[in-house]
Amino acid sequence: MSDFDPSRRRFLGHLGLAGVGALGASSLLSACASSASGPADKASGAISLQSNLSSPQAKAAMEKIIENFNKQGSGRATVNTIASETYRTQLPTYLTSANPPDLYTWYAGSVANNYASKNLLLDVSDVWQGLGDYPQSLRNISTDPTGKQIFVPMTNYWWGFFYRKSNFAKWGVQEPKTWAEFITLCQTLKSKGVAPIGIGLGDTPWVASAWFDYLNIRINGAPFHRELLAGKQRFDDPKVKAVFARWREVLPYFDPKGKAYPFQEATTALLANKTGMFLIGTFFADAAPKDALGDLDFFQFPIIDPAVPVAEEAPTDGFFASAKTANPAGTKALLTYLASVQAQETYIQSSSGIVLPAHPKAKAADSPLVVKGKAMLDNAKELTQFFNRDSSDALQPTADTALTKFIDKPDQIDAILREWQAGAEKVFKG
């Protein structure tokens, strides 16, 4: 699940229109899926779960969870796994069809809220009544603007500055806590002939959004960030410009080659000691050799204004249900099971990447890295997800354009923010 974001973008790039060609096939699939759950005895029939977890381990994990659910006897369910890029483009079609599948894997936050505002999603507040153990931060991102819960989380992951422990020891540097310490660290690394900050924007320009998200939630706070991404604030606001003023302070320490290669190669550069540290989500580890993982550690994005409540990026994956399901009781029973410790531990054990279970009592993998990541998210006052998840996939390209241009031409920031606002208005207008 954690590798979903990057692979989605990469598939777009490599397949291009081929993805569109695949639509035909997938709509056939969805037709099968909805007819499989048949109109005959829908009210008591099997719940159909539409899943985009198509990597072999994740697919097997989901199938095992559904198998366990079926053994329990509180209902019957089937899982239908679809290639993630096809799934992304077909999801609106599934939800708006006359006889839709009951349950879907997807993201929390504004993406889900957007469907909820069109009355496409089932109110699952009943399920949440049984989820008292879940932290408030997860409840918040599962709640739509009208105050009802429409999403049930399963896993999330975190972003941070990853580095090699052996390198930091060799260079005699420590993890920075504040922005000033961070700048000192950059200067030290540069004096040692290393590019301090790695980045990978060629083919994966969305990686730059992590910098924007973090600087904005550190300087202006998570509520402003959410409002900005929802179109309630303006990108040419002086508060947004302040974000770029901070960013500019560290721009000279970015790896100049980072513009030309994707984040997977930026990972290689970090592991090959060419860059000092790399702000990235845990999914990057999929591209790293297993023996290098033991040497990796990370630190939290430095605190800039101590008065701003600490927020962290925690992209959250989980489930929502169709409002048109013929069997709401059965769907909620399955959702309750998916939110349980047992189901989430099954998933964590079988999946390959670095992910955290959403249930606070479910056991995560016990590597020191995972323990540290989980502690960071548990201590956060607020959680944001990621630019596209807190806004929409449609707004992401406007950010990619603005941020890569800023990294190239920081002097033109006023014009860049004006263009960004104009581009965003078009997206919000539709």
């Binding site: 777009l12 790039g13 490599h14 291009g16 229109l17 569109v20 483009t89 609106p92 708006t96 069109k118 924007l201 060629g202 083919d203 320009p205 100049p256 080659k257 513009k259 030309a260 290669y261 190669e265 929409s392 996939d393 449609a394 992401q396 390209p397 990619d400 354009t401 603005a402 890569t404 241009k405 190239d408 263009e419 078009k426 997206v427 207008k429 539709g430």
Partner: protein, 311 residues
Amino acid sequence: MSTLAPATFRTSAAGPTPKQRRRRANRPSPLLVAFVLVPFAVESIWVFWPALQGFYFSLTRWDGLEPPTFIGFGNYTELAGDAVFRGALVNTVIWLVLFGGLSVLGGFGMALLLQRERRGVGFYRAALFTPVVFSLVVTALVWRVFYQPDGLADQLLRAVGLEQLIRPWLADPQTALYAVILPALWRQIGYVMVLYLAGLKAIDPALHEAARMDGANARQRLRHVTIPQLRGVNAVVLSVIVIDSLRSFDIVWALTHGGPYHSSELLSTYMYSAAFQSLRLGYGSAIAVVIFILALAVILGYLVRAFREDA
């Protein structure tokens, strides 16, 4: 058709009046009608209807989720004021001129060089044609390796002492478009060369023979014999080049996605990102209509002129 004729003859030979026979001969055979109507029906469903729908969608605002709302020419007035669209239009013209012009010149030159049967000429023809065989996406992956930081391109420049020219080829807005045109050309030249080779083969050698007898030198024969004889091929090449330029998408998308910040955006990539990334399907349709009109205008313009010269 030829198998049908005797059948018609046999039935009519069974003793109808001459009048009936004439009427029957005038009516097209059912099989012929089927050969026309079935493809037309298929074409209508899969080509004409979506094309007409595309025109309609270009007059709407549509996110693919809710029903489209009719907004008249709103998308077109927005296009007129859209700086990214203007940039994409300029880039498409640059693409048409550089990619089209250079592939015609290169392809024609190569065809002239390689038309005579000499030892080893087959090898060179095959070598030039090989890139056409690869999918453009595969081509893009190979060239991406070529362009990557410290890749082959950078090593070559370093080897000849031009390291001050080194830059992130695909990530620099000054070079991105040209860095994408190069692999597209690399492929297209072989294709155009094959078209011209076929055209050159079709020229009657007697014409060259006669011109040589009259004392024409090689350049005069090229100017007054070869080029006029290639008019038919030129029409094909021009259509192919214009259509290929306007639909160039895969190589740009695979190498730069139209970036960095729209600097290598073509109309086709902008159409795709407007429609399928920004989910503004109405706006994307309007761009598609513009592409269609451009292609039609260029090709019709040439065809009308060509027909007038023939008449």
